[in-house]
Symmetry: C2
Subunit: 150 residues, 2 copies
């Protein structure tokens, strides 16, 4: 199978997938949004091999999605923590969009297990928004002059 | 590496990734949004092995994201076409969110290669929207009673 370097692809979707498109990465980020910060928390939640988790966290740190910080509790040895950066937090729209599709098309018998809430507790969905902050239901993807063709 | 059945996960993000989370799948969908319908078009655009493409298309058809249709041009043999279903088209928010992050954090030197446009040609972004159709910038992910815990 020929491999391509997604990071140098002219398509922004491909470049983003170079950072978050590997197996488990988006679920690591989901756990980070739900409050996980430590290797052991991600590992327990996902049940994945330590070397895979190490690799995925390293990719996210290398691309500025997570920041690795060292902390030491009184009387304990130093530990690493992984925290979402501002750029990492911007991926909340990606996760919200994936969640919304799953709840609509692959519903869980007991209903959604996690809700998206605004500051007042209102339910939120993910959608396309114009420059006035109003939702627009129809979108077209339109190549620009920078599009290299297919 | 222990495998888990993402499709039976209580998390809607995981279930969606069971359908679209394999390598290449989101780029196949990107091409579908840009107008590709035929095996040869996806193959040329992505440069992936035929067996991988066959496998990914089968998953998308099995989960109702793409519909496979047979058509025959005058004097030619029958061919298969792959078209986005309504459920498939709802994934435009996922692709738009991935694109937006890439354009913001991994910018292309010549600027975005594909724009998201509304019916009047206005640029659109992807965001969280309340029930009144207005954008909300702060979102929290909140577990419900159906959340099985971590």
């Amino acid at each position: 199978m020929p491999t391509r370097d997604l990071m140098s692809d002219s398509c922004a979707i491909a470049r983003t997938l170079a950072v978050v498109g590997e197996r488990w990465t988006l679920l690591i980020l989901r756990d980070a949004f739900l409050g996980a910060t430590r290797f052991s928390q991600f590992r327990r939640s996902l049940g994945i091999a330590p070397d895979v988790l190490t690799d995925r966290l390293a990719t996210l740190v290398a691309h500025g999605v997570l920041a690795r910080e060292t902390y030491r509790e009184e009387g304990s040895r130093a530990r690493e923590e992984y925290r979402l950066t501002d750029a990492g937090r911007e991926l909340h729209v990606v996760l919200g969009a994936l969640q919304q599709w799953g709840d609509a098309h692959l519903p869980w018998p007991d209903g959604p297990t996690v809700l998206r809430c605004g500051p007042g507790g209102d339910p939120l969905h993910v959608g396309f928004v114009d420059d006035r902050g109003e939702q627009v239901d129809e979108v077209t993807f339109r190549p620009t002059a920078a599009f290299p063709g297919v």
